[in-house]
Structure formats: structure tokens, C-alpha cells
Amino acid sequence: MLAIEKLTAGYGKTTVVDDVTLTLEAGTVTALLGRNGVGKTTLLRAIFGLCHRHGGGLSMDGKPLPPGRAEVPARRGMTLLPDDRGVFPTLTIEENLRLAERRGYRPPVDVKELFPLLVERAEQPAGQLSGGQKQQVGIARAILAGERFIAIDELSQGLQPSLAQAALEALRAVAATGVGVLFVEQGPRYPLAYADRIVGMVKGRIVLDRPGDELRTDPTAVTDLLVVS
């Protein structure tokens, strides 16, 4: 569905993502795993044209995605929750969610049931929320907007474990309807528990790409990836 072909990207002249080729399938939950600073965030931003693309290409269902214009993937039903959570601080929670809704698309899970906060504080400006609360707004927004593909950076940051688990259950339910899901984590816990496929990065390159089931029985490859060598 989403094909990343020999992608090299970074900021200015710096290369952060180096020659990455990866195909993400519809209906699959993929975890992108790696230590701090290996290029996970930059890879996500590059998919949405939010950093400099030095080489390679991206296509969604065979149609290329241009660099530098995040509204193009967005119009094709792709969405990103950036690591800074990207809430609109002066808009209320309700307004934040309204901007994410897509005409003619209702996600299979009710985000307001998933995160009761979204109803309780509907009229509060999102800038007043705590980090974990902003993360809930961000995940809800991603579920609403991601008709085809959802990318979530640092999924569990600031979230209490019960909410992170609920969010991942919800994302699995969304993926079951044919949406591609890609989430970034720095720890092995959630990828091993919830991902169909685990992709590992070191120094801007992909060094691990195996099914989740395989790694669940033998997680040494994942732990090796995360140990500082």
C-alpha cells in the first residue's frame, strides 16, 4: 500500500534516514523500534513531506507522494501524530477533533468511548492539557483522520499503561478494517505485545524486519537492537 523506495531524508544537508526501502501493508500493525536518535521520527516526517527528502521515492497505492506538501498524503486518508503531539493549543478539544474528521468516514472505534477525557473536557483549550492528555487528543485525531494509513510517533509517551493498551487495542481494531498502522516506540514492551510486524532501525537504516509472532517466541533480536553496544 505505502511503498518507501530507497528513501534518504534529513534536515538541511544532514542525512538522518539513509536508503530506507520498506513496504507497509494495509490491515497490518507495524512497530518501528529503535533507540533514541536513529531516525524513526525523521522517517515518519519524511513520509509526510515534513523534512527534506534527498533521494528516493514514496508512493501510496502506486501514486507518488510529492515532498514538502503534507496536505497531499492527508487528502488520501493518511495521517501522522508527530512526537510533539501537534495539538492546536488555542482550539478546544472538540475543535481539534472536528478538524480531523473526514467526510464520509467513520472509524470502527468510537474515540470518545476510548478516551472519556475528550467528552469531559470538550470545551477546554488543548494547550491547557497535560502531556498525556494531549497524547489522547492526538491519538483520537489520528484515528478519526486515518482512513487508509495512521502513523503514530512515540505512542506510549505520557500515557498510563492502561490507556496505552486501550489505544493499541483500538488501533488493532482500526487495522482490522484495512487501515495500515505504523507506530514508533523506544521500548520492546508494546511492539512485542501488539505488532504484527516489527521493524528495527539503527543509524538511519533498517536492520530488522520480522513478523511479531516470530519475535514474541524469541525476542533476542529486539533486545539486541535496543541494547547500547
Binding site: 492527508a74 488555542t90 482550539l91 478538524l99 485525531r141
Partner: protein, 296 residues
């Protein structure tokens, strides 16, 4: 009593004019972070459009001025500003200063510097609480304030306004949700510029229209936006009221020159004691910013 009524009417009509200027300038500043120092020249353009097309009936002529304002706004944003945002607000400020010179000298070349006059479509006076006052002035003040109210309604109560406010808050995230930021930015500038041209067109019968006439309107609009805390539209309109009130009262009791000096001295003091009004980097639309809560 008569003096009070006259003063109130003067404040009201000046407030309408300044509010229309301030809301356009506030939109441009809030959305683009651009200090539009050509705002006064856009007012001048509106006044000259009304003068140059004197044969066209008044209302269609206003409509033409609106169209010209929109086109001018799109052209300025696309040709001049669109490549300069990354260089910061000083670059865009200087560029707009250049635009103001081009507009002023352009008008000078076409129309010369002799004051031109535009005939008001309504010449009658109206009797209010024993004071006779030109009806046209009251009508344009009401029209101006209605337009300002409409701008606020669209900004805070419609989907379009939501899109604009989201783009101000976080441009990258807005584009990730499918909002084309370039279109929103160009559109906002065009509307802001159009409001200035429209203000000039409405005001034209009250002015001696010269290429220099715009310079006098930049400062009131600028201070109105500053007084109302940066980027806040309702604040800018409140600022316009303060500037209109001070300006009218001072002009009643002092001569023109002294009134100007005292007015701007007062405004500078006001801005100095309320420095929250000047915040070039972070732009807020709401008048109050609450500190973020500690992470739970």
C-alpha cells in the same frame, strides 16, 4: 450636552473606520506574522479607486474596490511575501515597506499630488439628540462595524475560521490534517488587504485623497493591534476603540498637531506598560494565554 453627543458620534464613526483597519491588520499579523506597514497605502488605493471610477454608481464601485483589493492582496502575497517568511518578520516588514513606496509613488505618477475628492452618495444630515450630523458618516461606521462583526463570526464560529485558526496554531499539523497552508495564508492576506482597501473606499468621501493620505492611517491601525495583545482579533478591535476615543478627545481640546503628538506619546506609554501586547514570536488569537498544566 450637544458637545457630548457630537463627541460620541465622532468617536463612533472613527471607531468604525479604525476597527476595520485593525481587524485587517490583525488578521495579517496573526496568520502570517507580517507587520503590514503598507496597510495605509492599501487604504489610499481604495480611496483612489473610488475617485478614478467616479462614473460608476457608488455601490458597484465599492464592489469593484473589494475585487481590486482581493487581487492586489493575492499578487502581493504571491510575488513579494511568499518567499520571505523563512527570513523572519524583519524581511517581510521591509518588503511591505517597499510595497508601500511602490503604491504611493504609483498613485503619485497616475493621479499627482493634488487632493482629489469623492462625492458622498448621501448628502443629508440627520438630527440626533439635537445635533445635526452627516448621515453618510453614520452609515459607513455601521457598515464597517457590521463587516468587523462578520469577520469575527467567520473566524470564531465557522469551519473556515477553524481552519484559519488551526493554521495559525500549528501550520505543519494543519497540513497533516489536509489543510493546504499556502492557500490559507494567501487567502488571509488577500482578505486583510481587501478590508483595508474597502475601508479606504468607504472613507473616501471624507478625505482629501492624495498619495500621502495612507500614511496617517498606519499608526492608528498599528497601535490598535498592539494594544489588544498580539494576534488577538477582539483585542485589536478593542484597541481600535481606545485609539479612536483618545484621538477624538484630544482633537477636541488641542490643536491638530499637538493632539497627534500627545496621542502617540500616550499610545507608546500604554504599550510600554502593557508589554504583553508586543510579542513578535508567539502569536495568540485569544486574549488570554493560560500556562500549561504539569504533565499528569
Amino acid at each position: 450636552m450637544d458637545a457630548v453627543v457630537t463627541l460620541a458620534l465622532s468617536v463612533f464613526t472613527l471607531f468604525g473606520f479604525y476597527a476595520l483597519l485593525a481587524v485587517g491588520m490583525g488578521l495579517i499579523f496573526g496568520q502570517l506574522g507580517v507587520v503590514n506597514v503598507a496597510h495605509g497605502e492599501l487604504v489610499m488605493v481604495g480611496a483612489f479607486v473610488m475617485f478614478a471610477l467616479a462614473d460608476v454608481p457608488f455601490l458597484p464601485r465599492l464592489l469593484l474596490a473589494v475585487l481590486i483589493g482581493l487581487v492586489l492582496g493575492v499578487v502581493i502575497e504571491r510575488l513579494v511575501l511568499s518567499n520571505l517568511y523563512e527570513r523572519g518578520f524583519l524581511a517581510t516588514l521591509l518588503a511591505m515597506w517597499g510595497v508601500s513606496i511602490v503604491l504611493r509613488e504609483g498613485a503619485n505618477a497616475i493621479f499627482g499630488s493634488t487632493p482629489a475628492s469623492v462625492r458622498a452618495p448621501i448628502q443629508e444630515n440627520i438630527e440626533i439628540l439635537g445635533v445635526s450630523y452627516p448621515l453618510y458618516r453614520l452609515i459607513i461606521a455601521v457598515v464597517a462595524l457590521a463587516i468587523v462583526a462578520a469577520v469575527l463570526l467567520v473566524t470564531y464560529r465557522t469551519k473556515l475560521g477553524l481552519v484559519v485558526r488551526a493554521t495559525v496554531d500549528n501550520r505543519d499539523m494543519a497540513s497533516v490534517l489536509g489543510i493546504p497552508p499556502r492557500l490559507v495564508v494567501t487567502g488571509t492576506f488577500a482578505v486583510g488587504a481587501m478590508l483595508a482597501v474597502l475601508a479606504g473606499a468607504l472613507q473616501s468621501p471624507l478625505l482629501g485623497v492624495t498619495p500621502m493620505v495612507g500614511a496617517a492611517f498606519l499608526a492608528p491601525a498599528f497601535f490598535a493591534v498592539l494594544l489588544g495583545r498580539a494576534g488577538s482579533l477582539p483585542g485589536a478591535i478593542f484597541g481600535a476603540f481606545v485609539v479612536a476615543l483618545l484621538s477624538t478627545v484630544l482633537r477636541t481640546y488641542l490643536n491638530e498637531t499637538l493632539a497627534q503628538v500627545v496621542l502617540f506619546a500616550l499610545l507608546i506609554v500604554l504599550v510600554a506598560v502593557r508589554p504583553n501586547g508586543i510579542d513578535w514570536r508567539k502569536v495568540q488569537w485569544k486574549p488570554r494565554t493560560q500556562p500549561a498544566q504539569v504533565a499528569a
